[in-house]
């Protein structure tokens, strides 16, 4: 296995050819369609890539060109990617939920002439965007439903493109192999959009060497093999999905599975039982709240059994993450707890086979970590950025410190400069931003150090990330802190979906409630409500959240305790630009839009009103004025009768 790890002059298309020669009948991709997992073998995968590559060549796609893909995760996504790379081109993924303006931005910067789009929804967006995209020549679509009657001459069916490619390639024997052989590791393979919380996304160019050296370094500590399965459900436009699904997938020969529909992701994942997962915190958080809701709906016996099992699992996990071996009695209890209480929960979550899983993209609350380790899921933090292929620092098995992000993976150097910024250097540092030499110069210095823009420090060799360097604040007594740190404390409450913290002297917070958990709590309390807005403004819900904020405050130093909070009347929505598609809060947009609220929080008003424009489905809109309460925690005494709520329950 180690022989194929020395990447040398490897590129993705070369690896695909290797896999197809090694195990032509092994399953490379499978997609659930019509209720059945439809397999695609490595040989079929390679053949399809060749046809589409010929097809793209017949459309004039050349070395150095960028082909865009706009759609959900499907085999066609990867086939298009590998086809473009076989010709010496690169691929840029666009998030399928993107709106017209974002699509135009990415396609313009990438100067894409060919876009591979999924279905009618995406094609409609491109038809609208076409006017502002003079360079766009052809749109290829693969889900034909609803597109039968479209007459635009520049629309081509994926299967027709393959057919066209077969014809084009019929008298060009050996041309494809020659093109693949011409590819070098320093060719750009993937262009990834950086999730811009501050401005329009930048497009980072990643070479084959960047991605494959990352895959080698990662798998040298956490090995993967051809028997491992992976469910691909996060956007392939995201670097994390590219890393594991494509780079590790191709170099280790893993089987990728694509769920049938966004609504069936969970059940499909349970059917597959993946061995490895890499997801941003929101996925883990939503799994935890699902467990909380379902356990709260269970009978008392199940709750009791799970409670006892969880405690034992938690104690065993504490030993395990420190690398200690538990004693024989502990092992026996742990096995018993696993059998009756923890394994069934893992199975329900689709994590029954998981050997390792990762979280990355944003910090995950230590308590969420603790929960997953307690139920026996080996969850580890990854720290990295798109600019360094997503993965640079990682927890090691048996040395998982929840507050840190671990130690650098092999081949990666880490340094903290004088200002406290984290610098990284490795083979995976990206080639540059597309069309912006200046921004590239800001990110990578002459010695090849990537300036991450994050502030952090080392704790016994383990990296602890505070926040974006420009977001690190000083409190009244001089403590360095980050609002993200407080926000994560707040977000650990199952009732809090998002929290945005303001101020340095008087810390205040704007909170959005999680409609699922608060809704189920309200149901349990016989509290009636109509809409999200109504629920969020209930006196009882404020009291509930006050208790949660009070609990979060208990872990915070006095100078940065949350003094006041309000519950926002709506959830933060990427369509409103308030949050990115990877669910990072855009503070500047929030500060702009809710300036009045923030000022009122700062002043300590009793309530504040806001005018909100609601657009109904039929196109009419009305202005509504909503009055939001501001809760002051000064002198707050938590209700006495309540017991401490366990991590796994939303109920007391």
């Amino acid at each position: 296995m180690s022989a194929m790890r020395t990447s040398g002059d490897k590129t993705f298309p070369k690896l695909l050819a290797e896999r197809a020669a090694e195990r032509p009948k092994g399953i490379a991709l499978q997609e659930k369609l019509y209720g059945i997992w439809q397999p695609i073998t490595w040989q079929e995968y390679a053949d399809n890539v060749r046809d589409i590559a010929h097809g793209l060549a017949s459309l004039g796609v050349d070395r150095g060109d960028i082909v865009a893909v706009l759609g959900d995760n499907r085999p066609e996504w990867l086939i298009a990617e590998l086809a473009a790379q076989s010709l010496g081109g690169a691929v840029v993924g666009i998030y399928p939920t993107s709106l017209d303006e974002e699509i135009v931005h990415v396609l313009t910067v990438a100067r894409a002439r060919v876009v591979i789009a999924e279905d009618q929804e995406q094609v409609d967006k491109l038809i609208r965007a076409k006017k502002s995209l003079p360079g766009l020549e052809t749109v290829v679509y693969y889900d034909v439903h609803g597109l039968e009657t479209y007459t635009e001459p520049w629309l081509v069916k994926f299967s027709d493109l393959a057919e066209q490619g077969r014809e084009w390639g019929s008298n060009r024997d050996g041309w494809f192999e020659q093109e693949v052989a011409r590819g070098t590791p320093d060719d750009v393979a993937v262009v990834c959009t950086t999730s811009g919380t501050t401005s329009k996304p930048k497009l980072g160019e990643l070479t084959h060497r960047n991605l494959l050296s990352m895959a080698d370094n990662l798998t040298s500590i956490d090995p993967l093999g051809p028997k491992d399965r992976f469910v691909s459900f996060l956007p392939l436009a995201w670097i994390g999905e590219q890393m594991i699904a494509v780079a590790c997938g191709l170099s280790c020969g893993m089987t990728l599975s694509f769920p049938e529909d966004s609504a069936t992701q969970r059940s499909d994942m349970r059917e597959i039982g993946p061995h490895v997962m890499f997801s941003p915190p929101r996925i883990w958080e939503s799994m935890l709240s699902e467990v909380q809701v379902r356990i709260d709906e269970a009978g008392w016996l199940k709750r009791k059994v799970f409670g006892v099992g969880y405690d034992i699992g938690n104690r065993a996990a504490e030993q395990r993450v420190k690398g200690r071996k538990p004693g024989p009695v502990m092992r026996l209890f742990a096995a018993l707890a696993d059998w009756v209480a923890l394994r069934p929960v893992r199975d329900q979550l689709g994590l029954a086979r998981i050997s390792r899983c990762y979280t990355g993209g944003a910090p995950l609350g230590p308590d969420v970590f603790r929960f997953f380790h307690a139920i026996g899921v080996n969850l580890k933090q990854i720290y990295g950025q798109t600019e360094i292929c997503g993965i640079a620092v990682l927890h090691r098995d048996e040395d998982v410190r929840f507050h840190s992000v671990g130690v650098p993976i092999p081949g990666t150097e880490l340094r903290i400069d004088d200002s406290g910024e984290i610098l990284l250097r490795s083979d995976s540092v990206f080639a540059g931003y597309l069309g912006s030499k200046e921004a590239t110069g800001d990110a990578v210095d002459e010695e090849g150090w990537l300036h991450t823009g994050d502030a952090g420090y080392l704790d016994e060799g383990h990296l602890v990330v505070i926040d974006r360097a420009k977001d690190v604040l000083k409190s009244a007594d001089g403590t360095r802190f980050s609002s993200a740190f407080i926000e994560n404390k707040l977000k650990f409450s199952p009732y809090v979906e998002e929290a945005v913290v303001f101020g340095t002297e008087n810390i205040t917070a704007m909170i959005t409630i999680d409609p699922m958990t608060v809704g189920s709590w309200a149901e349990h309390e016989h509290l009636t409500y109509t809409t999200y807005t109504d629920l969020a403004q209930k006196e009882e819900v404020y009291e509930l959240l006050a208790d949660e904020v009070h609990r979060a405050n208990a872990d915070l130093p006095d100078s940065i305790k949350v003094r006041r909070f309000l519950l926002l009347f709506k959830q933060l929505d990427p369509d409103d630009d308030e949050i990115t598609r990877t669910r990072k809060v855009r503070r500047n947009v929030i500060a702009d839009r809710y300036g009045d609220l923030i000022a009122a929080l700062e002043r300590g008003d009793g309530s504040v009103s806001i005018t909100n424009t609601v657009t109904y489905q039929d196109g009419t809109s009305v202005d509504r004025t909503i009055s939001l309460k501001i809760y002051d925690l000064d002198g707050y005494v938590p209700p006495k009768h309540k017991k401490q709520r366990p991590v796994w329950s939303g109920r007391r």
Partner: protein
Amino acid sequence: MLTRAYRFSLNSSRVPTGDPLLEFADVSLRFGGIHALSDISFTVRQGHVHAVIGPNGAGKSSLLNCASGLYRPQRGKILLHTRDEQDAASGHDLAKLRPHRIARLGVARSFQNIELFGHLTVLENLMLGRHIHMRHHLVPALLWFGPARNQEVRHREFVEEVIDLLQLQAFRHHHAGSLAYGIQKRVELGRALAVEPSLLLLDEPMAGMNAEEKEDMARYILDVHELRGVTVMLIEHDMGVVMDISDHISVLDFGKLIGDGTPDEIRNNQAVVEAYLGADA
């Protein structure tokens, strides 16, 4: 490589588009002294979405029940035109046929009040729609081998395309009775489609839905019609929806046909306006 295009045709009628598919000729239905329908005559053409509208008690559901054989009109003919594989035309008077014979001719329907089997899964309910196309011999069916098994696999493939079209994937193995109302309505539409209809009769497919659910349902009906070529005859109350999606409208009032034409003609029909808005409007 798997293809995403559908392999099966949902429409089983071979009548050329625009030709008469179903003709009501002087249909009259009485319940004792009540004239539910009197001398109704109109034509549903192949390839149309044909809406039947009218105030409560106008006789809309009775008309549909006559067409599907649940009621037997005292007078008149309901003529269904079919073409066989050699393109030879023949007519069948539905007023004289038993409901199961009518179903075999490809007339499928959904009900105003959902009539699913609550304790069967969505998949099983849809497979039931294929029942009229299955030919079982007792022994292979009991032992589920050879032809019986192959046959079921083939029909399952058909049903899976219906599931894909109506986006029911997430509910495949859920019990029909446990699903939300809007989903159950969709399952009922799916079961009617699984019949592989020559004519689809929908009795108030959007009753009791909110604006968003109605929009979804309208989208599915249009998909079924436009993309899969199925002729649809539907009863609906929401005028906005009716005007949007139908090619032809027949209006009933107190058992009589008071209007018949395109949406534009109906909008300007004085008798219809009076029936709906009162004589003064």
